[in-house]
């Protein structure tokens, strides 16, 4: 029993889950229960918790992809721009501005948008793995250019579309639950299965710690780097689809703006070391929920939106400090010395 307890608290996702639950609890108390209430409206569930899951869908997907990138000691700051590109392509196709031969097919729009995401990811991966450019610089190129490219695709306009099939990506419900949640379950599920059933996870951690030694141990480092940046790009494009389906159009300026920061934040809250090494995708997904729930909290409490940033900042510091080994050492030592004294007494 004791052993088991030890294991649960050791799990990387333990603290993120606790924090998430605390935020929910705090809100529930503050709103006198309203926060937790879930009702059924028009045959689907309705409530703030559902909102968190639906609105946090994009971020959960991005965080899952970002976790692996960070695990290899890299980073992908281009995800927001990739989202803009993917939305721009999908909406342009549906509008018939792009590839009019396809007749505005939603399926084609999704396929092309995801392909574009994969291409962006391949480009990042190519720069990182083959040209050996530092990840932050390599992905900065696409971050800077990506939004411009999206603008050039839409010729600088906001494209609005009219397609119920496309709206479903964000606004649809299956069994009463929002569709984005299923996308998250599907993508993260596959990823988790892949990481845990194969040695992918071990290889990523090993690459993140020491890529040269990993190569010497027989791991095809470049291939894996290429793969994870591609996955990250593909995931970002899916997030872009969700976002553009949500606003029923492509807004290249604002789509995914600064979301890379939130995604990295989510991973950090999940306890993955940003320098590479040990990682947990599940913990990052919880981290994403925490980030989303901060926004929801601020809205629910009617606090001015400006405080979202302040709150996030404070939360980052608190969480990072609590995870910092050094911090634990500094304060743990104090605790221990107290304990020692107690024993002496």
């Amino acid at each position: 029993m004791k052993n088991k307890q030890y294991k649960i608290t050791q799990n990387q996702a333990f603290w993120p889950v606790i924090i998430f639950l605390t935020i929910i609890l705090f809100n529930t108390v503050m709103t006198r229960g309203e926060f937790l209430s879930i009702s059924i409206v028009d045959g689907h569930f309705y409530g703030r918790i559902i909102d968190i899951f639906r609105n946090g869908g994009k971020l959960m997907i991005l965080a899952a992809g970002m976790t692996m990138v960070l695990a290899t000691g890299g980073t992908d700051i281009s995800v927001g721009s990739v989202m803009a590109i993917s939305g721009a392509i999908a909406c342009s196709i549906i509008r018939g501005n792009l590839l009019p031969g396809l007749g505005g097919s939603v399926a084609a729009a999704i396929i092309f948008a995801v392909c574009a995401g994969i291409l962006c990811g391949l480009w990042n991966g190519f720069l990182v793995a083959q040209i050996k450019i530092q990840p932050i610089v390599a992905t900065m190129i696409l971050l800077v250019a990506g939004r411009g490219i999206a603008q050039l695709i839409t010729s600088g306009k906001i494209i609005t579309i009219n397609s119920d099939a496309y709206y479903f990506i964000n606004g649809g419900y299956i069994l009463g639950l929002p569709f984005p949640l299923y996308i998250v379950l599907f993508l993260v599920g596959i990823l988790l299965l892949f990481v845990h059933r194969t040695s992918f996870g071990l290889f990523l951690e090993s690459i993140g710690c020491n890529s040269l030694a990993s190569k010497f141990a027989g791991i095809k480092v470049n291939r894996y780097l290429l793969a994870i940046y591609t996955i990250s790009g593909a995931f970002a494009s899916v997030a872009g689809l969700i976002e553009s389906a949500g606003i029923k159009g492509a807004d290249c300026n604002n789509a995914g703006l600064n979301i890379e920061l939130d995604a990295i934040l989510a991973v950090a809250i999940g306890g993955t070391n940003l320098m590479g090494g040990r990682f947990s995708i599940f913990a990052s997904v919880i981290g994403a929920l925490i980030v989303q729930s901060i926004t929801t909290t601020v809205l629910a409490l009617g606090v001015p939106a400006a405080y979202i940033r302040v709150l996030k900042a404070l939360l980052i510091i608190v969480i990072c400090l609590s995870q910092s080994g050094k911090f634990k050492v500094l304060f743990g030592r104090k605790l221990e010395s107290k304990k020692k004294e107690a024993v002496v007494l």
Partner: protein, 325 residues
């Protein structure tokens, strides 16, 4: 009340009326220097459908009058620095008139002074700048406070003068947001004591945030009867949120918003939105008119008000096809 006959004309009143005059206005220009009217325009960026329409209006006018007009256009990507740099390079390029839709009200003293030194007049378009009046030639645009007041009156009429409503604000600090809020809140406070604004938060002028904020409003205030949004995009987001909550937008909760973009007309036709206070973005012709006047040294008023209308769902179906944006 909304003036239906008037609005029919607002489709592009400035254009229709003035277009005939345009050649006249340009004629003297050709006489003076036998050269084109060179205009530099520093646009904010692409923030909403409304602004796209404004940009289109300017660019279309310029491309239709290539013999008399030359347009240098810079999109500042929502950054004041970029606008300042663009204006400075317009000054270097020695344009005749500079147009600007300022991204914020403040911070224009230096660059306007430089333009003045170079003898280039500045036209402010659709947003004002907080500078000394002598530094710019004229402001062309609507009265945001009046828009807010009008929205308040429309709202009051729709909900019968009482009930709880919520407000979706625009980007914090933007004059359109501040003034539309001021006008609305003042009008409600002054004349409609039974209307209570129970929540007001920023939706950043975007659909996505409009929706998210509205979702939250609906949960903390299930008994609201109306929503006022500082632009149509946020209203469209709010409509989504209302539908998700199992309520009928346009009936259970009425909407009043500002701008008059096509999307909101579609929503009004579908019965999901109630009213939009137009803020006409088709300022291109009026802008070039004024610029030509300035080049020729004619005097212009300090504030050239654009002609705006109010549209309700009753007439939306009739005018939707004539909407240009």
């Amino acid at each position: 009340g909304s003036a239906a006959p008037e609005t029919a004309a607002t489709t592009a009143p400035a254009t229709t009326v003035e277009e005939t005059e345009t050649p006249k206005a340009d004629a003297p220009a050709t006489d003076v220097g036998s050269e084109k009217l060179v205009v530099g325009f520093a646009q904010i960026g692409q923030e909403s459908g409304w602004r796209d329409a404004e940009t289109m209006s300017i660019q279309t006018y310029a491309s239709e009058h290539t013999d008399t007009v030359e347009l240098k256009f810079a999109d500042a990507q929502q950054k004041q620095e970029n606008q300042i740099k663009a204006i400075k390079s317009f000054i270097e390029q020695d344009v005749d008139v500079i147009g600007l839709a300022p991204v914020v009200e403040t911070g224009w003293d230096q660059v306007f002074a430089e333009a003045q030194d170079a003898g280039i007049p500045i036209i402010l378009l659709d947003r004002t700048a907080d500078v000394d009046e002598s530094l710019y030639a004229t402001f062309i645009g609507s009265d945001f406070i009046e828009e807010g007041k009008e929205a308040a009156r429309q709202m009051a009429e729709l909900i019968g003068g009482k009930g709880k409503i919520v407000e979706l604000e625009g980007t914090v600090g933007a004059s359109a947001a501040t003034d539309r809020k001021t006008g609305f809140d003042e009008e409600i406070a002054a004349n409609y004591p039974d209307i209570e604004i129970v929540a007001s938060q920023t939706g950043d002028f975007t659909r996505a945030q409009g929706k998210e904020v509205m979702e939250s409003f609906l949960k903390s205030n299930p008994d609201i009867v109306g929503v006022y949004a500082h632009n149509d995009d946020m209203a469209l987001g709010a409509i989504e949120a209302i539908k998700e909550a199992g309520l009928k937008p346009g009936e259970d909760i009425v909407t009043v918003s500002v701008d008059g973009v096509k999307g909101i007309f579609e929503a009004m036709v579908a019965g999901e939105a109630n009213c939009t206070v137009e803020c006409n973005p088709l300022l291109g012709p009026l802008f070039f008119e004024t610029a030509a006047k300035l080049k020729n040294g004619e005097s212009v008023e300090k504030w050239v008000k654009s002609v705006d209308g109010v549209f309700t769902s009753d007439i939306a179906a009739d005018v939707i096809d004539s909407r240009a944006y």
